[in-house]
């Protein structure tokens, strides 16, 4: 399943601006002097490939889809290449806390330092909503933009309006003075680029006019990845980085790989490996509701995983998926010796053969018979749809054969009732 809006690196967004904005704005000559340092980058090579690096004063900052980098003390300003190199050597791979998330610093952006006064910092953002897009502009850009939000001009653009016909000059603050013309041209060009190149969010805070040229200093962008088909020539090899922070566990990565291999959808996030409640739910909508119900009944802390399998998975897919979950939940007993629960849930399938999808689950459960018994696992099953009677019969028989309690329910039982049955003894 697609994720609609995805963040891209500041580096890629600025490169896109440098390359494409001149098509829209006559005298936009931001040169895109900018370099990306990845875990694979050889710093000496970067300095050779970008001759300006050794000639200019530099800015170095992490480029990993998180903001407030200044507040976290992660921006190096007005530095020589030697200083920048030292900073990079010190910080590459370092674990840092950003907000509530801990993760390694892997990607950095290096660009020329532009000396300017705080008062020169301009703000522009483009956001989208149901009715269309809104352009936000302020002459009071910079880190305090939220505090100065009442100074921000909002220019709504109707979704059916033509971007070419937009006349921004009368709508931008007059105090821009002789900057009004170039700024209006820039913002309009930026908006046209936003629409044409599949952006879903774009914020430049701040940008300045330096030696007569508009230079974006700090930039955040999201694209609508559903546009990939239309933007294939514009986006080229653009990559969508994973959000900053927690790296996938071995088991999550395993399911992610399996997901990429098959036409079906397999998703797994581990929330609390010591949790007693494990879920294996068919369908995106139903999986959320099972997790909801576990939280709403007050067992959020015990919820071990979130995930789903859907899109007519093959027997092999469901086998791999089940095995991964069974392995995780039987690695250790509950320290207090309490029962662990596996909820094999789902709504009423449209056309997926329930008995067939259960086949892989059954094989995995058979493989883990001894471990399930040792760990003290109780299983609840609820599912409906084509051939569900046969599927449920297979599950009931399996419970008897394995000597593992398997409680089986069909569409006559409310979808999430197995949650309260398991956790509250059926109240």
């Amino acid at each position: 399943m697609k994720i609609a809006q995805r963040g891209i690196r500041e580096y890629d967004a600025k490169k896109m601006l440098a390359e494409r904005l001149p098509y829209y704005v006559d005298d936009f000559d931001y040169d895109g002097q900018i370099a990306l340092v990845t875990p694979e980058t050889d710093l000496e090579v970067v300095a050779v490939d970008n001759p300006w690096i050794k000639k200019k004063k530099l800015v170095v900052k992490p480029d990993q889809l998180f903001g407030k980098r200044g507040a976290h003390g992660l921006i190096l300003l007005n530095a020589t290449w030697d200083e920048a190199r030292e900073y990079l050597n010190e910080n590459r791979g370092k674990e840092v806390l950003v907000g509530t998330v801990v993760g390694p610093l892997t990607h950095f952006l290096v660009e020329p330092f532009i000396p300017h006064d705080e008062g020169e910092e301009l703000y522009v953002a483009i956001k989208s909503d149901y009715e269309g897009d809104s352009i936000y502009f302020s002459t009071q850009g910079g880190v305090d933009i939220e505090a100065n939000w009442d100074q921000v001009t909002k220019i709504p653009v109707d979704i059916l309006a033509k971007a070419e016909d937009l006349d921004l000059k009368p709508q931008l603050p007059a105090e821009l003075g002789d900057r009004l013309g170039p700024v209006a041209d820039f913002v309009k060009g930026l908006y046209r680029l936003y629409r044409d190149l599949g952006f879903a969010y774009l914020e430049i805070n701040p940008f300045v006019i330096h030696e007569g040229k508009i230079v974006p200093l700090d930039l955040v962008a999201r694209l609508d990845d559903a546009e990939a088909f239309w933007q294939r020539n514009n986006w080229k090899e653009l990559e969508f980085p994973e959000p900053f922070g927690r790296a996938l566990t071995k088991d999550e990565a395993y399911i992610k790989e399996a997901d990429a291999r098959t036409g079906a959808s397999l998703k797994l996030t581990i929330l609390n490996p010591k949790g007693r409640i494990w879920t294996m739910v068919a369908g995106g909508g139903a999986s959320v509701i099972y997790a909801d119900t576990i939280c709403d009944l007050g067992f959020g802390g015990e919820l071990a995983n979130y995930g789903e399998y859907s899109g007519d998975p093959s027997t092999e897919d469901t086998y791999e998926y089940t095995k991964t979950i069974l392995d995780l939940m039987t690695r250790e007993k509950d320290p207090e010796g309490r029962t662990k629960y596996l909820l094999i849930g789902g709504g009423i399938a449209n056309f997926t053969d329930v008995a067939k999808t259960f086949k892989g689950i059954v094989t995995a459960l058979e493989d883990y018979r001894d471990k399930l018994r040792e760990t003290g696992v109780e299983i609840y099953v609820r599912r409906g749809g084509p051939n569900y009677e046969e599927g449920l019969r297979i599950m009931r028989q399996l419970g008897e054969r394995l000597g593992v309690p398997i409680n089986v329910f069909g569409p006559e039982t409310h979808m999430t009732r197995i949650v309260s049955m398991a956790l509250r003894g059926g109240e």
Binding site: I159, A226, R246, D292, G384
Partner: protein, 613 residues
């Protein structure tokens, strides 16, 4: 015309965009179950083919017209108001916009997932401007009980019967998730008299119509006594419902639950199944929305677990004050099971009319006598090996396969003057195509031309096996007055031996374990050539006789295989197959030469007619 608050009724007809044969049949099965008098699909729009499409209407078959474009369909069916659009995410926008520009089209349901946000918003804005309705994108659609089903909504017929969707109840339902629609129909059917209408608006961030739009329709629809809704974390759509509740625009009881309350325990990087299901502020969380809805007067359960209970409570209350009554169940017809499905389920069987024992193309790879084609290639079985598999169902040893290939090469051509080549050339010159010309050449193969291989094998084998000495055999044939098949050549003789026969015998001497029949035939030749120099073992005879020796030499064959080969005349096939190579060559040769029509010269024909009195 349907009323404003009803998008579909029991007379609504739709165009289905996309050749979705299963979805179309499911719509018609639903119609039949509901006792509709006209099919809900008026026509199919299939950009790659116009014509007709055959469907079941209960037990009968009917045809639906198929058009290439929406305007063509609209021109013939001006009363159709709905397009069920199965176009892919790539063409969903263009086709929907085209449908919206047709004045007669009022509603478009878009099934595709992955439509870009900007396109979705443009479609929504355009529809709004034109006072039309879009359902979707990224949805299974929706259903009006007893009246109209969008595409695959509600799954199998069994499920439709189970959730009583063949007749109206009293609940209007709307959700984002299409995947939860079946479950919702089930919950509502078990806790009330069932749905009147159920719509899934789709899980995108910018659906073509929102929850509020459908809730207001349900509010106006007098058939609907209560409204049920499932919202979702992300977006602010549910606050429009809050405002409407506060403003008194929703007077019917509304049971609503916003899913995604678990998002608070999940890391922010987890994206739920739907593109729109992500809270970008506290306001967009499920908890905040549930709280606001509850405060505004909606019936909000404590968790999804009691969603059904709340529906039951409201329904019982409405029944108590006689707003609604339990439904008297109508009789419903049985939908015949599709043969393919019943067969897969093991419920029916039928005897087959044909049997095939040599090849199978049903799997992912064609099988030759059970052997996958890729293995045939890996083992480098060659044409001889493939003939072994497809003619004899056996893996031949390489020397035997080589012999077959040698035969094919030897018989491949014998110049333009022989019957087959001549006929093919004449046909080609007459302007006939390759296959017709080839057939006209092949049709000359028979007892006098190229067809003596089987006869030779049969006669020599019979004579040898019945213990006749070569003299006895020759005498027997002479007394019957028949020529010995495989003996004699028009040009070749003892002094001018046939090179081809020498090649064949050379191969056999080198590779065959046994050459009993060849040795016997050569003794026969000694007798016949003593009488006349050209009564030699000819190439046809040699092939037939050596093939018998090949089979005797080869462990994979037994006597009954040899008997089959003779009885069914396998061996003329070798000649026909090999010679086809030459015949095709001659035909192509004539084509390249752009030969004109051949007319046999009159001076080469003796005209000898009876005299007409």
């Amino acid at each position: 015309m349907t009323k404003d608050y009803r998008l579909f009724d029991e007379n609504t007809q739709a165009f289905v965009y996309g050749y979705q044969v299963n979805a179309i049949q499911r719509m018609l099965d639903f119609d039949y179950l509901c006792g509709r008098s006209v099919p809900s699909v008026a026509a199919i729009i299939n950009p790659s083919r116009a014509g007709i499409h055959k469907v079941f209407w209960g037990t009968e078959e009917i045809v639906l017209p198929m058009y290439r474009t929406i305007p063509e369909a609209v021109a013939d069916y001006p009363s159709v108001e709905v397009v069920v659009n199965f176009a892919s995410y790539r063409s969903a926008f263009d086709t929907t916009m085209e449908a919206l520009t047709q004045p007669s089209i009022k509603t478009v349901a878009i099934i595709a997932e992955g439509v870009p946000e900007r396109m979705s918003k443009k479609m929504a804005a355009t529809a709004k401007k034109m006072k039309k309705t879009i359902i979707g994108p990224a949805t299974v659609g929706g259903l009006v009980a007893g009246a109209f089903r969008i595409g695959n909504t509600a799954g199998t017929i069994e499920n439709i019967v189970e959730s009583k969707l063949y007749r109206p109840g009293c609940v209007g339902f709307v959700s984002k998730s299409g995947g939860m629609l079946n479950e919702a129909f089930n919950i509502i059917a078990r806790n009330s008299s069932g749905i009147v209408e159920g719509i899934a608006i789709g899980g995108d961030r910018y659906p073509g119509s929102n929850l509020m739009y459908h809730i207001l329709r349900y509010e106006t629809n007098p058939e609907i006594a209560m409204i049920a809704c499932l919202g979702e974390v992300g977006g602010t759509d549910e606050y429009k419902i809050v405002e409407a509740l506060k403003a008194g625009k929703i007077t019917k009881p509304l049971v609503i639950w916003v899913t995604g309350t678990c998002s608070k325990v999940l890391p922010s990087s987890v994206q739920f199944g739907h593109a729109g299901a992500k809270a970008q502020s506290e306001l967009e969380t499920a908890d905040a929305k549930n709280q606001a809805l509850k405060e505004a007067g909606a019936v909000v359960p404590d968790s999804f677990d009691s969603y059904g209970d709340k529906i039951k409570e409201v329904y019982e209350r409405l029944k108590a004050d006689e707003t609604v009554k339990d439904v008297v169940e109508p009789e419903i017809p049985t939908i015949p099971k599709d043969y393919a499905k019943a067969s897969a389920d093991g419920l029916v069987r039928k005897s087959t009319n044909l049997i095939c024992t040599i090849s199978d193309d049903r799997g992912e790879e064609v099988l030759y006598a059970g052997k996958p084609l890729s293995r045939v290639m890996e083992d480098q079985m060659g044409i001889g090996g493939v003939i072994g598999l497809l003619w004899f169902k056996k893996e031949l040893p390489p020397w035997a396969a080589d012999f077959i290939e040698l035969v094919l090469q030897i018989v491949a051509d014998h110049g333009p003057a022989v019957s087959a080549a001549h006929n093919a050339i004449v046909a080609s010159c007459a302007g006939k195509d390759l296959i017709s010309s080839l057939a006209s050449g092949l049709l000359t193969i028979g007892p006098r031309f190229g067809g003596a291989i089987d006869d030779a094998a049969r006669e020599f084998k019979r004579a040898h096996d019945s213990g006749l000495t070569p003299e006895q055999f020759v005498n027997e044939m002479k007394s019957k007055g028949t020529n010995i098949p495989g003996i004699g050549h028009r040009i070749k003789s003892v002094k001018n031996p046939d090179k081809r026969v020498e090649l064949l015998i050379g191969h056999a001497r080198k590779h065959f374990v046994r050459t009993d029949l060849l040795d016997y035939a050569l003794q026969v030749q000694d007798i016949t050539t003593a009488k006349k120099g050209n009564l030699i073992l000819n190439v046809d005879g040699c092939i037939g006789i050596l093939f018998m020796d090949l089979m005797t030499s080869c462990e994979v064959f037994d006597e009954s295989d040899i008997y089959d080969v003779i009885k069914y005349g396998y061996l003329n096939g070798l000649f026909a197959l090999g010679r086809s190579i030459g015949i095709i060559g001659h035909i192509l040769d004539q084509k390249r030469l752009e030969s004109r029509l051949y007319r046999h010269p009159q001076d080469d024909i003796a005209y000898m007619l009876p005299k007409f009195e």
